[in-house]
């Protein structure tokens, strides 16, 4: 997904770090096999049972359900590798930490699939579909929890304080991405009335926490950076997250066709990524609630259709100009925060090239 959030990702990351990508892919393939390796599970993940596990559940109850969602890639491990190298570390010994990044990404994809499902917007209950969706939702829950065994086993040979920080980071990525989605759902249920820029920006940072902040802070913990350094990284990558969101949104206004080729399974995540917040706020757009009068909640795809139609009929030049000014400010914050603690010069330079900043 980072290839959508970072421009020129193909050349600046995928081609430039081809060997890293191979290392990461090899790790993922080996670890995927372990998901159903009962010996590995008992020795490392769920432990020997007091009574008896039913391992028959793994294939139909987890893998078959998750496979379609595991076809997409977040590419955040590549950024993580780049950051570790920039912090003076060889990333290879920490390749398994990529599982934390990638499995939470897969799981968030499922959660979005669940949260934006049309069946939940209708008044009539469909218990069978509900129960199928719940099964998928809980398979994803296991996928989020699974890689935590790496932290419990101290697989990266970190100090106790670093492992505490790792636990905290993993928990708070869940909290922020959850808050982001919660507020976003609420706004949608209220037809995005009274949305203001400050709220929209902070919520976008929360929602997209796993793309920039997660790999950056994971690298910071492994490299054992000081609190002051971590604070600057946190602020810098928060600004970069919002910058990337605005860039994506701008492309959306400039060329909407690009957004029609998204893999269908990720259409729900896409709703969060491509939400036309700036167009809505800058132009005072309003969604017509009438089509949802019979429903329990408005359906997000319908809301988007309405907004898209409106956007196509207005001149977006002023909105884009405002966005470009904000982009410059945000990118400067990113650069200055990292410069202040003299961190990640190569990564900053690479991102400058990506975004032509």
């Amino acid at each position: 997904m980072l290839h959508h959030l970072i421009e020129n990702f193909d050349t600046e990351f995928l081609e430039a770090f081809e060997a890293d990508q191979r290392t990461i892919n090899e790790c993922f393939e080996a670890e995927y096999k372990k998901l159903s390796d009962t010996e590995h599970l008992e020795q490392n993940v769920i432990d020997e049972p007091l009574l008896a596990w039913d391992y028959r559940a793994i294939e139909p109850g987890l893998l078959e359900l998750m496979d379609p969602f595991m076809e997409s890639e977040s590419h955040t491990p590549l950024l993580f590798f780049s950051i570790l190298r920039d912090l003076g570390l060889d990333p290879k010994p920490y390749v398994k930490a990529s599982l934390l990044l990638e499995y939470s990404y897969f799981a968030l994809g499922v959660i979005d699939y669940f949260d934006f499902h049309k069946v939940f917007t209708e008044r009539k209950q469909d218990l069978l579909t509900y129960s199928e969706l719940t099964q998928v939702r809980y398979a994803a829950q296991y996928l989020i929890q699974y890689p935590r065994y790496l932290v419990i086993k101290n697989s990266f040979e970190l100090s106790k304080a670093q492992n505490i920080a790792l636990h905290k980071l993993y928990a708070t990525i869940g909290v922020t991405t959850g808050i982001g989605r919660g507020a976003f759902l609420k706004w949608g249920h209220d037809y995005f009335v009274s949305l203001i820029r400050e709220h929209y920006f902070q919520n976008s940072i929360y929602t997209l926490n796993n793309y920039f902040l997660f790999p950056a802070m994971l690298g910071a913990i492994i490299a054992d950076l000081s609190d002051a350094q971590k604070d600057s990284l946190q602020k810098g990558f928060s600004a970069l997250t919002m910058f990337a969101k605005l860039r994506l949104e701008k492309r959306y206004y400039e060329n909407q066709d690009e957004f029609k080729i998204t893999p269908p399974i990720y259409r729900d995540l896409w709703q969060l990524l491509s939400f036309p917040g700036m167009a809505l706020m800058e132009n005072g757009l309003q969604v017509d609630p009438a089509p949802y009068a019979e429903d329990k909640y408005p359906w997000f795809t319908g809301l988007y259709r309405d907004l898209n139609t409106q956007i196509q009929g207005i001149d977006m030049a002023d909105t884009i100009k405002t966005m470009e000014k904000l982009e410059t400010e945000l990118f400067e914050t990113f650069v200055s925060e990292l410069g202040r603690v003299d961190l990640l010069p190569a990564t900053v330079e690479r991102l400058r090239n990506c975004y032509r900043m």
Binding site: G61, S131, N163, H167, Q202
Partner: protein, 368 residues
């Protein structure tokens, strides 16, 4: 006071006194831990990162905090924090030194039962609408899992200022419990979704332990033991007691789901049938039923029916084969195992008595 009398009326005397003397303190802890208003400082603290812009506090409160607050406000028995208090004191700790722990445990419980409720498609909990009924499935999902993750802030922020090894031990155990819980959930949902009918008793009980022991009661007993510096051999025994208690408590819950013994149960009867759950009760019934009855039961369970008449068919077969007695006997067996373990603890007789009374209360008198 009337409500307190109602809650405590079935408690054995010493446990009743213990409960009454600590309940106000525990309730205050819950209120402090999960406030009914949030500000930016609180949010930054629990999300673990300073916000760059102004967060939407109202939308955050309404979606993440409010649904769990609604559960908290309905006045459950807060048995888990009470058990934590009992275990802390049993090892000589002063509960005032651990004030936020009680709030954390209860918020974990209430946010997680919201998840159980939409998995089971329950309508009511503690006499009020379930989270997904009040706020929709999508918001209940986001709210419960986010509030649950957030409810650990005491531990991931190490706000008790514990030494690193103790803080890490707690976090490692909690993470391990989360993995267990999620794996148990996969098993349960696979059985339901695939209409699996050949689950063994051991598999069912293991799945129950995996899915529920984080808070009922292995987790709270273990965390209290670690916090109070209980001897390592005692912590292993506390865990075992928690698991045995859970089995008794859960089996009683399965029976109550089919046949609530009081309005306090606060849920709709026969939800397990509607959800298609392969509970132990259903498996025992399938074992004893004849071929035709078995086909009827399987058809009803697989159909996710809300039809009271069909649920009644299953209920009457449960009565016919005296299945309640079978699960009750198994619950009693586990209660006995818990009591044998309680005797092994290096705590005073006063606390052994309290733990025994808690065991009886939890496994025999369960409601709410």
């Amino acid at each position: 006071m009337k409500k307190l009398d109602e809650i405590t009326k079935r408690m054995p005397p010493e446990f009743n006194d213990f409960y009454r003397q600590r309940i106000d303190f525990i309730k205050a802890s819950i209120k402090n831990y999960f406030p009914d208003q949030i500000d930016k400082d609180f949010l930054d603290r629990v999300v673990g990162q300073p916000s760059l812009f102004e967060p939407d506090l109202k939308a955050t409160y309404d979606t993440i905090f409010l649904p769990t607050q609604e559960y908290l406000g309905r006045g459950g028995k807060v048995l888990r924090p009470v058990l934590v208090a009992m275990c802390l004191e049993a090892y000589g700790a002063d509960i005032r030194d651990f004030e936020p722990v009680f709030g954390a445990i209860e918020v974990m419980e209430d946010s997680s039962i919201m998840m159980d409720d939409y998995i089971d498609n329950s309508l009511t909990r503690r006499g009020g609408p379930c989270g997904h009924i009040a706020h929709g499935y999508a918001l209940a999902n986001v709210s419960s899992c986010t509030a649950f993750a957030l409810s650990h802030y005491l531990f991931y922020n190490n706000e008790l200022k514990l030494p690193d090894d103790k803080a890490l031990k707690l976090l490692d155990y909690m993470a391990w419990e989360h993995i267990q819980m999620a794996f148990g959930q996969i098993e349960e949902l696979y059985w339901t979704q695939s209409n699996v009918n050949d689950i063994t008793v051991d598999q069912y009980l293991q799945e129950t332990i995996a899915r529920c022991a984080f808070l009922t009661f292995r987790g709270p007993m273990r965390y209290a033991g670690i916090l109070a510096d209980a001897p390592p051999q005692d912590i292993a025994v506390l865990e075992k007691i928690g698991e045995y208690l859970l089995v008794g408590y859960h089996l009683k819950g399965d029976n109550l789901d089919m046949s609530p013994d009081s309005p306090e149960w606060g849920k709709v009867a026969g939800e397990d049938i509607t959800t298609g759950r392969r509970t132990l009760l259903i498996n025992y019934l399938l074992d004893k039923a004849d071929k035709q009855e078995r086909a009827t039961i399987e058809s009803i369970i697989s159909s996710r029916t809300e039809d009271e008449e069909k649920k009644k068919v299953v209920y009457e077969l449960v009565l016919k084969y005296d299945i309640f007695a079978q699960t009750r006997d198994l619950a009693a067996e586990y209660n006995q195992l818990a009591k044998q373990e309680i005797e092994k603890l290096s705590v005073s007789d006063e606390y052994k008595l309290l733990l025994n009374q808690f065991a009886d209360y939890a496994t025999r008198r369960r409601s709410l």
